[in-house]
Symmetry: C2
Subunit: 213 residues, 2 copies
DNA sequence: TAGATTGTTAATCGATTAACAATC
DNA sequence: TAGATTGTTAATCGATTAACAATC
């Protein structure tokens, strides 16, 4: 069985939790060298058994009787989530949300690097965000091709989202991270992750009003 | 059976999809008066059967042989998600992400109204975002009590998140929407929704590199 | 050895899908 | 009536949990 084979068919909710585990682990103080399934699960808010079952999909991350080694865990989860090699991203739409994403420091720690920023607004074009120049949207396609970018972030308003998405895909992007409220559609060989902010707050409203005693 | 009773015990993934349905529906052009389960499911990217099963948890939203009425759907989903009455929010942390959330226009459409904005940085205090003054964090507790705010949004850096969360809960907040990478902990009678941005992009990285052909 | 801990299987629980009846 | 559509049950599928063996 190839290395790659064991990465296939991990349950989708397990992948999501892998990301949460990794995020938790990298934020741990350096002095913490090992951690048990129950400590970790407790803080994240799940059952220890679920965490161990998750790790079991990959053949187990530890040894019976011993806690998990934090550095090993971080390294292995990064491998599973394909974060070992740097991956470049472009971002379109420099509104408030686009600026916030472009300024977010957290991605580089996972080898995700924002390379190009694009907007249609001439007032924005020419400015820089963290030393990355904002370019005209017309240049996006050729930039993506030239730099072989595979990840595109959409922060445009609703009405522009599908068009920008199409341009990204046309130019070679294979993963779309969509922050607009629009449900963009893509070909089968492209993945989309919708990060619609309203969904989160509506879910919270339900839980606050309907689940709480 | 009381009106409220039928809102209890809706499967958690169904609630999340209710939010997605509602978001989709409010973005529809006004001329669209009715829509079928297969049209809607196709655009959202799920099976029509799942959508109908979701609606069935509430006793069904339509009638056999007829498409769904868009206005009725919007009204009913708003009811289920407890968005009928306006709900006030406070936000702490006016970094890039905090500013983006404070400027986001999309929430008001769901009756979610940002009332108070707070930060520790004296350079920020006194400024206004969309006519809402930024106040000193020290004033947050009494503001929450005075205005009986039940929803708190955390956009602070990692190290301040738990402290800010505690202050919010202490003052009476019952729902925390947390955008910091920290896993904040709350008492049992408070709900938290973590909106960690890194989790989304890590999941996308997995799907791009491990699931795509 | 005793206690703590993870690995692993099997049981349970919940979510999704298929099928078709009911209705327009 | 025929075709389109949703309502609803039952079957399937997948995710979570419990239990305990294995190991340190």
């Amino acid at each position: 069985m190839s290395e790659d084979a064991i990465f296939r068919n991990i349950p989708q909710f397990t992948v999501l939790r892998f990301a949460r585990y990794l995020n938790f682990l990298v934020n741990l103080p350096d002095v913490v060298e090992e951690i048990s399934s129950s400590e970790m699960a407790g803080i994240i808010g799940i059952k220890p058994t679920q965490l161990r079952q998750d790790f079991f999909t990959l053949g187990g991350f530890g040894r019976q009787g011993k806690k998990y080694n934090v550095r090993f865990l971080i390294q292995r989860l990064g491998e599973v989530l394909a974060l070992q090699q740097p991956q470049d991203m472009v971002l379109a739409g420099v509104g408030h949300l686009g600026q916030a994403i472009a300024n977010y420091q957290g991605f580089e720690r996972f080898n995700l690097v924002l390379k190009g920023i694009f907007d249609v607004n001439p007032k924005m074009v020419g400015l820089s965000i963290r030393d990355i120049p904002v370019r005209d949207l017309d240049e996006m396609g050729s930039y993506i091709q030239q730099h072989k970018i595979r990840i595109g972030v959409i922060c445009t308003p609703h009405h522009a989202a599908q068009n920008v998405c199409d341009q990204m895909v046309e130019a070679g992007v294979r993963a779309i991270w969509n922050f607009s409220p629009e449900n963009v559609t893509v070909p089968e060989d492209v993945v989309v992750q919708n990060e619609n902010l309203s969904v989160g707050i509506m879910n919270l409203s339900y839980r606050l009003n309907r689940e709480l005693p």
